[in-house]
Protein backbone atom coordinates (compact mmCIF):
# COMPACT_ATOMS: atom_id res chain seq x y z
CA UNK A 1 0.00 0.00 0.00
CA UNK A 2 1.19 3.48 -0.77
CA UNK A 3 1.54 5.49 2.37
CA UNK A 4 3.72 8.53 2.31
CA UNK A 5 6.83 8.28 4.35
CA UNK A 6 9.83 10.50 3.97
CA UNK A 7 10.39 9.21 0.48
CA UNK A 8 8.32 9.67 -2.55
CA UNK A 9 6.30 6.48 -2.71
CA UNK A 10 2.82 7.71 -3.53
CA UNK A 11 1.04 7.01 -6.73
CA UNK A 12 -1.25 9.39 -8.54
CA UNK A 13 -4.28 7.13 -8.16
CA UNK A 14 -7.22 8.56 -6.31
CA UNK A 15 -6.78 6.60 -3.12
CA UNK A 16 -5.31 3.37 -1.93
CA UNK A 17 -8.01 0.73 -1.98
CA UNK A 18 -6.76 -1.11 1.05
CA UNK A 19 -5.43 -0.03 4.35
CA UNK A 20 -4.83 -1.73 7.64
CA UNK A 21 -7.51 -1.30 10.24
CA UNK A 22 -7.05 1.79 12.30
CA UNK A 23 -6.28 0.83 15.85
CA UNK A 24 -6.45 3.10 18.86
CA UNK A 25 -3.08 4.14 20.21
CA UNK A 26 -1.76 6.65 22.64
CA UNK A 27 0.58 9.50 21.93
CA UNK A 28 2.53 11.68 24.30
CA UNK A 29 1.89 15.40 24.24
CA UNK A 30 5.30 16.89 23.40
CA UNK A 31 4.33 20.52 23.19
CA UNK A 32 1.35 22.84 23.19
CA UNK A 33 1.67 26.00 21.14
CA UNK A 34 -0.68 28.98 21.40
CA UNK A 35 -1.52 30.03 17.84
CA UNK A 36 -4.15 32.70 18.50
CA UNK A 37 -6.27 33.60 21.52
CA UNK A 38 -8.74 30.85 20.59
CA UNK A 39 -6.49 28.28 18.96
CA UNK A 40 -3.67 26.02 20.12
CA UNK A 41 -1.60 23.42 18.36
CA UNK A 42 -0.98 20.12 20.10
CA UNK A 43 2.22 18.37 19.13
CA UNK A 44 1.95 14.62 19.61
CA UNK A 45 4.51 11.85 19.62
CA UNK A 46 2.66 8.78 18.30
CA UNK A 47 3.75 5.38 19.57
CA UNK A 48 3.80 4.15 16.01
CA UNK A 49 2.89 5.92 12.85
CA UNK A 50 3.15 4.63 9.31
CA UNK A 51 2.65 8.00 7.74
CA UNK A 52 -0.27 10.01 6.43
CA UNK A 53 -1.34 12.02 3.44
CA UNK A 54 -1.65 15.77 3.77
CA UNK A 55 -5.36 16.42 4.38
CA UNK A 56 -6.08 13.40 6.58
CA UNK A 57 -7.30 13.54 10.16
CA UNK A 58 -7.19 11.59 13.40
CA UNK A 59 -9.94 10.79 15.86
CA UNK A 60 -9.27 11.72 19.47
CA UNK A 61 -10.96 9.79 22.26
CA UNK A 62 -11.30 11.08 25.80
CA UNK A 63 -12.31 8.81 28.67
CA UNK A 64 -13.61 10.08 32.01
CA UNK A 65 -13.00 8.11 35.19
CA UNK A 66 -16.62 6.96 35.19
CA UNK A 67 -16.08 5.40 31.75
CA UNK A 68 -17.83 8.14 29.75
CA UNK A 69 -16.15 8.71 26.40
CA UNK A 70 -16.17 11.42 23.76
CA UNK A 71 -14.60 11.25 20.31
CA UNK A 72 -13.95 14.05 17.85
CA UNK A 73 -12.01 14.41 14.62
CA UNK A 74 -9.02 16.75 14.18
CA UNK A 75 -7.11 17.30 10.98
CA UNK A 76 -3.38 16.75 10.91
CA UNK A 77 -1.50 20.01 10.36
CA UNK A 78 1.98 18.55 10.07
CA UNK A 79 3.34 17.23 6.78
CA UNK A 80 4.15 13.52 6.35
CA UNK A 81 7.85 14.37 6.43
CA UNK A 82 7.67 15.13 10.15
CA UNK A 83 7.76 12.54 12.90
CA UNK A 84 5.56 14.45 15.32
CA UNK A 85 1.88 14.98 14.59
CA UNK A 86 0.53 18.49 14.93
CA UNK A 87 -3.18 19.09 15.54
CA UNK A 88 -4.65 22.57 15.67
CA UNK A 89 -7.70 23.00 17.85
CA UNK A 90 -10.07 25.93 18.02
CA UNK A 91 -12.19 26.69 21.05
CA UNK A 92 -15.85 25.97 20.48
CA UNK A 93 -17.97 27.84 23.03
CA UNK A 94 -19.15 25.31 25.58
CA UNK A 95 -17.47 22.58 23.53
CA UNK A 96 -16.80 19.35 25.34
CA UNK A 97 -13.62 18.11 23.69
CA UNK A 98 -12.09 21.35 22.39
CA UNK A 99 -12.27 22.99 25.82
CA UNK A 100 -10.59 19.99 27.41
CA UNK A 101 -7.81 20.03 24.81
CA UNK A 102 -7.27 23.77 25.23
CA UNK A 103 -7.66 24.16 28.99
CA UNK A 104 -6.78 20.88 30.63
CA UNK A 105 -4.32 18.98 28.47
CA UNK A 106 -0.67 19.41 29.42
CA UNK A 107 2.73 18.50 28.05
CA UNK A 108 3.55 14.95 29.16
CA UNK A 109 -0.09 13.76 29.13
CA UNK A 110 -1.03 10.84 26.98
CA UNK A 111 -3.79 11.28 24.48
CA UNK A 112 -5.66 8.43 22.88
CA UNK A 113 -6.21 8.64 19.14
CA UNK A 114 -6.32 6.71 15.91
CA UNK A 115 -5.61 7.45 12.31
CA UNK A 116 -4.81 8.45 9.71
CA UNK A 117 -8.41 8.68 8.49
CA UNK A 118 -9.91 10.17 5.35
CA UNK A 119 -8.75 9.12 1.92
CA UNK A 120 -10.56 11.67 -0.19
CA UNK A 121 -9.51 15.10 1.01
CA UNK A 122 -5.84 14.42 0.34
CA UNK A 123 -3.12 15.86 -1.81
CA UNK A 124 0.53 15.12 -2.33
CA UNK A 125 3.13 16.63 -4.59
CA UNK A 126 3.08 13.59 -6.90
CA UNK A 127 -0.43 14.61 -7.91
CA UNK A 128 0.95 17.89 -9.16
CA UNK A 129 -1.02 21.08 -9.54
CA UNK A 130 -2.13 23.67 -9.74
CA UNK A 131 -3.96 23.52 -6.45
CA UNK A 132 -6.27 26.12 -5.04
CA UNK A 133 -6.83 25.95 -1.29
CA UNK A 134 -9.67 27.83 0.35
CA UNK A 135 -9.78 27.99 4.14
CA UNK A 136 -12.34 29.37 6.55
CA UNK A 137 -11.05 29.78 10.11
CA UNK A 138 -9.41 26.62 11.47
CA UNK A 139 -10.26 24.98 8.15
CA UNK A 140 -6.69 26.02 7.40
CA UNK A 141 -5.41 22.97 9.32
CA UNK A 142 -5.47 20.21 6.67
CA UNK A 143 -4.53 22.77 4.01
CA UNK A 144 -1.50 23.70 6.08
CA UNK A 145 -0.37 20.08 5.96
CA UNK A 146 -0.59 20.30 2.17
CA UNK A 147 1.35 23.57 2.03
CA UNK A 148 4.04 22.34 4.42
CA UNK A 149 4.40 19.21 2.36
CA UNK A 150 4.52 21.23 -0.85
CA UNK A 151 7.29 23.44 0.54
CA UNK A 152 9.38 20.37 1.30
CA UNK A 153 9.01 19.03 -2.21
CA UNK A 154 11.31 20.57 -4.73
CA UNK A 155 8.81 20.65 -7.58
CA UNK A 156 7.50 24.15 -8.31
CA UNK A 157 3.81 23.33 -8.00
CA UNK A 158 1.60 26.37 -8.54
CA UNK A 159 -0.69 26.92 -5.59
CA UNK A 160 -2.94 29.54 -4.16
CA UNK A 161 -4.39 29.90 -0.70
CA UNK A 162 -7.43 32.02 -0.03
CA UNK A 163 -7.83 32.24 3.72
CA UNK A 164 -10.85 33.82 5.35
CA UNK A 165 -10.57 34.88 8.99
CA UNK A 166 -12.44 37.31 11.19
CA UNK A 167 -9.43 39.52 11.86
CA UNK A 168 -5.65 39.59 11.44
CA UNK A 169 -5.26 38.32 14.99
CA UNK A 170 -7.33 35.24 14.20
CA UNK A 171 -5.18 34.08 11.29
CA UNK A 172 -3.58 30.83 12.38
CA UNK A 173 0.05 30.21 11.28
CA UNK A 174 0.26 33.77 9.96
CA UNK A 175 4.04 34.21 10.26
CA UNK A 176 4.72 30.87 8.66
CA UNK A 177 2.29 31.55 5.82
CA UNK A 178 3.72 35.01 5.17
CA UNK A 179 7.23 33.61 5.08
CA UNK A 180 6.16 30.79 2.79
CA UNK A 181 4.54 33.21 0.34
CA UNK A 182 7.48 35.62 0.45
CA UNK A 183 9.98 32.91 -0.41
CA UNK A 184 7.94 31.19 -3.07
CA UNK A 185 6.90 32.76 -6.35
CA UNK A 186 4.61 29.83 -7.18
CA UNK A 187 2.47 30.40 -4.11
CA UNK A 188 -0.16 33.08 -4.04
CA UNK A 189 -1.52 34.01 -0.61
CA UNK A 190 -4.72 36.00 -0.15
CA UNK A 191 -6.32 36.85 3.18
CA UNK A 192 -9.95 37.88 3.42
CA UNK A 193 -10.79 39.58 6.71
CA UNK A 194 -14.49 39.49 7.43
CA UNK A 195 -14.94 41.55 10.60
CA UNK A 196 -11.99 43.77 11.41
CA UNK A 197 -9.15 45.07 9.30
CA UNK A 198 -6.32 47.47 9.98
CA UNK A 199 -6.89 50.90 8.44
CA UNK A 200 -4.14 50.38 5.88
CA UNK A 201 -5.28 46.84 5.01
CA UNK A 202 -4.89 46.24 1.32
CA UNK A 203 -6.00 42.64 1.31
CA UNK A 204 -9.59 41.61 0.76
CA UNK A 205 -12.28 43.06 3.04
CA UNK A 206 -15.37 41.02 3.77
CA UNK A 207 -16.30 37.52 2.81
CA UNK A 208 -14.77 35.52 0.00
CA UNK A 209 -16.84 36.24 -3.09
CA UNK A 210 -16.95 34.97 -6.65
CA UNK A 211 -14.72 37.78 -7.95
CA UNK A 212 -12.00 37.02 -5.41
CA UNK A 213 -12.21 33.33 -6.28
CA UNK A 214 -12.08 34.00 -10.02
CA UNK A 215 -9.01 36.19 -9.58
CA UNK A 216 -7.04 33.76 -7.48
CA UNK A 217 -7.95 30.26 -8.52
CA UNK A 218 -6.21 29.81 -11.88
CA UNK A 219 -8.16 29.35 -15.09
CA UNK A 220 -10.41 26.51 -16.11
CA UNK A 221 -7.83 25.55 -18.75
CA UNK A 222 -5.24 25.02 -16.04
CA UNK A 223 -7.52 22.47 -14.34
CA UNK A 224 -6.83 23.37 -10.75
CA UNK A 225 -7.85 20.98 -8.00
CA UNK A 226 -9.70 22.70 -5.17
CA UNK A 227 -9.52 21.84 -1.52
CA UNK A 228 -12.03 23.76 0.58
CA UNK A 229 -12.21 23.42 4.34
CA UNK A 230 -14.07 25.27 7.05
CA UNK A 231 -17.49 25.60 8.64
CA UNK A 232 -20.32 23.98 6.71
CA UNK A 233 -21.90 27.22 5.46
CA UNK A 234 -18.54 28.52 4.25
CA UNK A 235 -17.74 25.33 2.34
CA UNK A 236 -21.23 25.21 0.80
CA UNK A 237 -20.97 28.82 -0.35
CA UNK A 238 -17.47 28.57 -1.85
CA UNK A 239 -18.06 25.28 -3.62
CA UNK A 240 -21.27 26.44 -5.25
CA UNK A 241 -19.59 29.67 -6.40
CA UNK A 242 -16.82 27.60 -7.99
CA UNK A 243 -19.32 25.39 -9.78
CA UNK A 244 -21.07 28.54 -11.07
CA UNK A 245 -17.68 29.86 -12.27
CA UNK A 246 -17.51 26.76 -14.44
CA UNK A 247 -14.99 24.64 -12.57
CA UNK A 248 -15.40 20.87 -12.71
CA UNK A 249 -17.39 19.71 -9.65
CA UNK A 250 -15.28 16.55 -9.54
CA UNK A 251 -12.14 18.68 -9.07
CA UNK A 252 -13.61 20.32 -5.97
CA UNK A 253 -12.93 18.49 -2.71
CA UNK A 254 -14.49 19.59 0.51
CA UNK A 255 -14.09 18.98 4.21
CA UNK A 256 -16.78 20.37 6.50
CA UNK A 257 -15.85 20.82 10.12
CA UNK A 258 -18.95 19.73 12.00
CA UNK A 259 -20.91 19.68 14.12
CA UNK A 260 -22.85 22.87 13.50
CA UNK A 261 -24.66 23.09 10.19
CA UNK A 262 -24.57 26.85 9.83
Amino acid sequence: MAIPGGSNVMTATDAPLQQPSIAWQTGRVQAIVAETSRVKSIILQPANWSGHWPGQHVDIRLTADDGYQAERSYSIASPPEEKLLALTVERVEDGEVSSYLLDELRVGDTLEFRGPIGWHFIWSQTRGGPICLVAGGTGITPLMAMLRHRTRSLAPIPASLIYSARSLAEIVYRDELDTMARDDRDLRLVYALTREHPGDWNGHRGRVNAALLAENSFTREQNPTFFICGPTGFVEGISSMLVKLGFDPLAIRTERFGPTGA
Partner: protein
Amino acid sequence: MDRPPVSRGFKSKRQTPEGARLPPGQYLTTDFPVLSAGPTPEIRVVDWKIALQLGGSLLGKWTWDEFEALPQTTITVDIHCVTKWTKLGTVWQGVSFDDLLKVVGVSEPPDAYVMAHCDGGYTTNLPVSDLVAGKAMIATRYEGLPLAPAHGGPARLLVPHLYFWKSAKWLRRLRFMPKDEPGFWESRGYHNYGDPWREQRYDGD
Protein backbone atom coordinates in the same frame (compact mmCIF):
# COMPACT_ATOMS: atom_id res chain seq x y z
CA MET B 1 -5.97 -2.04 23.32
CA ASP B 2 -7.52 -3.37 26.53
CA ARG B 3 -9.06 -0.67 28.61
CA PRO B 4 -8.78 2.88 27.32
CA PRO B 5 -6.65 5.09 29.55
CA VAL B 6 -8.48 7.69 31.61
CA SER B 7 -7.90 11.23 30.36
CA ARG B 8 -6.73 13.18 33.38
CA GLY B 9 -9.23 15.82 34.34
CA PHE B 10 -11.81 14.95 31.71
CA LYS B 11 -15.46 15.04 32.73
CA SER B 12 -18.54 14.82 30.60
CA LYS B 13 -20.15 18.18 29.94
CA ARG B 14 -23.23 16.65 28.49
CA GLN B 15 -26.18 14.97 30.10
CA THR B 16 -27.88 12.47 27.90
CA PRO B 17 -31.58 13.05 28.36
CA GLU B 18 -33.43 10.31 30.19
CA GLY B 19 -34.32 7.47 27.85
CA ALA B 20 -32.46 8.85 24.84
CA ARG B 21 -31.68 6.17 22.28
CA LEU B 22 -28.04 6.97 21.75
CA PRO B 23 -25.62 4.47 20.16
CA PRO B 24 -22.18 4.30 21.81
CA GLY B 25 -19.85 7.19 21.00
CA GLN B 26 -22.62 9.40 19.63
CA TYR B 27 -23.80 12.76 20.97
CA LEU B 28 -27.09 14.49 20.39
CA THR B 29 -27.47 17.40 18.08
CA THR B 30 -30.55 19.43 17.29
CA ASP B 31 -29.25 21.09 14.15
CA PHE B 32 -28.63 19.14 10.96
CA PRO B 33 -24.96 19.06 9.95
CA VAL B 34 -23.93 18.52 6.35
CA LEU B 35 -21.01 16.33 5.35
CA SER B 36 -20.12 15.40 1.80
CA ALA B 37 -17.06 14.98 -0.34
CA GLY B 38 -17.71 17.77 -2.84
CA PRO B 39 -20.02 20.59 -3.88
CA THR B 40 -23.77 20.26 -3.45
CA PRO B 41 -25.38 19.51 -6.82
CA GLU B 42 -28.32 21.77 -7.66
CA ILE B 43 -30.72 19.43 -9.39
CA ARG B 44 -33.97 20.67 -10.88
CA VAL B 45 -36.76 18.14 -10.55
CA VAL B 46 -37.62 18.55 -14.25
CA ASP B 47 -34.15 17.19 -15.05
CA TRP B 48 -34.33 14.45 -12.46
CA LYS B 49 -34.86 10.74 -13.13
CA ILE B 50 -34.31 7.69 -10.99
CA ALA B 51 -33.70 4.11 -12.07
CA LEU B 52 -33.73 0.64 -10.58
CA GLN B 53 -31.29 -1.70 -12.31
CA LEU B 54 -30.46 -5.38 -12.38
CA GLY B 55 -26.98 -5.78 -13.81
CA GLY B 56 -27.13 -3.96 -17.13
CA SER B 57 -30.90 -4.11 -17.51
CA LEU B 58 -33.53 -1.73 -16.31
CA LEU B 59 -36.21 -2.84 -13.85
CA GLY B 60 -37.88 0.53 -13.67
CA LYS B 61 -37.33 4.23 -14.14
CA TRP B 62 -39.27 7.28 -13.03
CA THR B 63 -39.42 10.97 -13.72
CA TRP B 64 -40.11 13.28 -10.78
CA ASP B 65 -43.86 13.34 -11.42
CA GLU B 66 -44.02 9.58 -11.87
CA PHE B 67 -42.04 9.07 -8.68
CA GLU B 68 -44.28 11.43 -6.75
CA ALA B 69 -47.29 9.38 -7.87
CA LEU B 70 -45.92 6.18 -6.23
CA PRO B 71 -47.26 5.10 -2.83
CA GLN B 72 -45.88 7.40 -0.13
CA THR B 73 -44.62 6.40 3.28
CA THR B 74 -43.85 8.64 6.27
CA ILE B 75 -41.50 7.50 9.02
CA THR B 76 -40.07 9.01 12.19
CA VAL B 77 -36.57 7.76 12.95
CA ASP B 78 -33.30 8.58 14.70
CA ILE B 79 -30.31 9.15 12.44
CA HIS B 80 -26.67 8.55 13.30
CA CYS B 81 -23.69 10.04 11.48
CA VAL B 82 -20.26 8.42 11.61
CA THR B 83 -18.90 11.86 12.59
CA LYS B 84 -20.67 11.17 15.90
CA TRP B 85 -23.80 13.24 15.89
CA THR B 86 -27.21 11.68 16.37
CA LYS B 87 -30.48 13.40 15.69
CA LEU B 88 -33.62 12.02 17.26
CA GLY B 89 -37.12 11.82 15.86
CA THR B 90 -36.54 13.02 12.29
CA VAL B 91 -39.57 12.77 9.99
CA TRP B 92 -39.17 11.66 6.39
CA GLN B 93 -41.54 11.01 3.54
CA GLY B 94 -40.86 9.10 0.35
CA VAL B 95 -41.22 5.76 -1.38
CA SER B 96 -40.25 2.67 0.56
CA PHE B 97 -37.87 0.20 -1.05
CA ASP B 98 -40.56 -2.47 -0.59
CA ASP B 99 -43.04 -0.43 -2.61
CA LEU B 100 -40.47 0.19 -5.30
CA LEU B 101 -39.97 -3.56 -5.72
CA LYS B 102 -43.74 -4.11 -5.78
CA VAL B 103 -44.22 -1.47 -8.44
CA VAL B 104 -41.72 -3.13 -10.78
CA GLY B 105 -43.32 -6.51 -10.12
CA VAL B 106 -40.44 -8.11 -8.23
CA SER B 107 -41.59 -10.34 -5.38
CA GLU B 108 -38.13 -11.57 -4.34
CA PRO B 109 -35.06 -9.33 -4.55
CA PRO B 110 -33.10 -10.73 -7.51
CA ASP B 111 -29.63 -10.27 -5.95
CA ALA B 112 -28.24 -10.00 -2.45
CA TYR B 113 -26.56 -6.56 -2.73
CA VAL B 114 -27.35 -3.12 -3.98
CA MET B 115 -25.10 -0.28 -5.07
CA ALA B 116 -26.52 3.22 -4.79
CA HIS B 117 -25.26 5.64 -7.46
CA CYS B 118 -25.52 9.39 -7.06
CA ASP B 119 -24.90 12.68 -8.79
CA GLY B 120 -21.28 13.66 -8.39
CA GLY B 121 -20.12 10.06 -8.66
CA TYR B 122 -20.78 9.03 -5.06
CA THR B 123 -21.64 5.38 -4.45
CA THR B 124 -22.45 3.24 -1.43
CA ASN B 125 -23.12 -0.50 -1.11
CA LEU B 126 -25.76 -2.25 1.00
CA PRO B 127 -27.08 -5.75 1.56
CA VAL B 128 -30.61 -6.00 0.16
CA SER B 129 -31.76 -7.44 3.48
CA ASP B 130 -31.07 -4.00 5.00
CA LEU B 131 -33.38 -2.29 2.53
CA VAL B 132 -36.50 -4.49 2.65
CA ALA B 133 -39.24 -5.03 5.26
CA GLY B 134 -39.76 -1.35 6.00
CA LYS B 135 -36.08 -0.66 6.71
CA ALA B 136 -35.37 1.84 3.93
CA MET B 137 -36.90 4.38 1.59
CA ILE B 138 -36.07 6.90 -1.08
CA ALA B 139 -36.92 10.11 0.73
CA THR B 140 -38.10 13.27 -0.97
CA ARG B 141 -39.37 15.23 2.04
CA TYR B 142 -37.88 16.09 5.39
CA GLU B 143 -40.11 17.38 8.18
CA GLY B 144 -42.86 17.83 5.62
CA LEU B 145 -40.84 20.01 3.25
CA PRO B 146 -39.07 19.19 -0.03
CA LEU B 147 -35.61 17.84 0.76
CA ALA B 148 -33.05 20.67 0.52
CA PRO B 149 -30.14 20.19 -1.93
CA ALA B 150 -27.62 20.23 0.94
CA HIS B 151 -29.39 17.27 2.50
CA GLY B 152 -29.58 15.30 -0.71
CA GLY B 153 -32.59 16.79 -2.46
CA PRO B 154 -34.50 16.11 -4.54
CA ALA B 155 -34.15 12.51 -3.39
CA ARG B 156 -31.88 10.52 -1.11
CA LEU B 157 -31.70 7.00 0.15
CA LEU B 158 -32.68 6.65 3.80
CA VAL B 159 -31.38 3.65 5.73
CA PRO B 160 -31.64 4.99 9.27
CA HIS B 161 -30.34 1.92 11.11
CA LEU B 162 -26.90 2.30 9.49
CA TYR B 163 -24.44 5.22 9.70
CA PHE B 164 -25.73 8.05 7.60
CA TRP B 165 -23.14 7.86 4.82
CA LYS B 166 -25.12 4.81 3.68
CA SER B 167 -28.15 7.06 3.18
CA ALA B 168 -26.77 8.31 -0.12
CA LYS B 169 -27.67 11.87 -1.10
CA TRP B 170 -28.66 12.93 -4.64
CA LEU B 171 -29.68 9.39 -5.51
CA ARG B 172 -30.03 8.54 -9.21
CA ARG B 173 -29.78 4.79 -9.50
CA LEU B 174 -30.05 1.64 -7.38
CA ARG B 175 -28.31 -1.32 -8.94
CA PHE B 176 -28.73 -4.91 -7.79
CA MET B 177 -25.50 -6.87 -7.80
CA PRO B 178 -24.80 -10.53 -7.06
CA LYS B 179 -21.54 -9.86 -5.21
CA ASP B 180 -20.77 -7.20 -2.65
CA GLU B 181 -18.48 -4.38 -3.79
CA PRO B 182 -17.26 -1.42 -1.75
CA GLY B 183 -18.63 2.04 -2.57
CA PHE B 184 -16.99 5.45 -2.25
CA TRP B 185 -16.22 5.70 1.47
CA GLU B 186 -16.09 1.93 1.90
CA SER B 187 -13.06 1.82 -0.38
CA ARG B 188 -11.54 4.74 1.54
CA GLY B 189 -11.19 3.03 4.87
CA TYR B 190 -14.74 3.20 6.19
CA HIS B 191 -16.51 0.10 7.42
CA ASN B 192 -18.25 -1.99 4.79
CA TYR B 193 -21.48 -2.32 6.79
CA GLY B 194 -21.64 0.61 9.24
CA ASP B 195 -23.78 -0.45 12.22
CA PRO B 196 -23.85 2.47 14.71
CA TRP B 197 -24.74 0.17 17.61
CA ARG B 198 -21.55 -1.79 17.04
CA GLU B 199 -19.55 1.36 16.24
CA GLN B 200 -18.51 0.08 12.84
CA ARG B 201 -16.87 3.29 11.73
CA TYR B 202 -13.74 2.17 9.99
CA ASP B 203 -12.54 -0.94 8.26
CA GLY B 204 -11.67 -3.51 10.92
CA ASP B 205 -13.93 -2.11 13.68
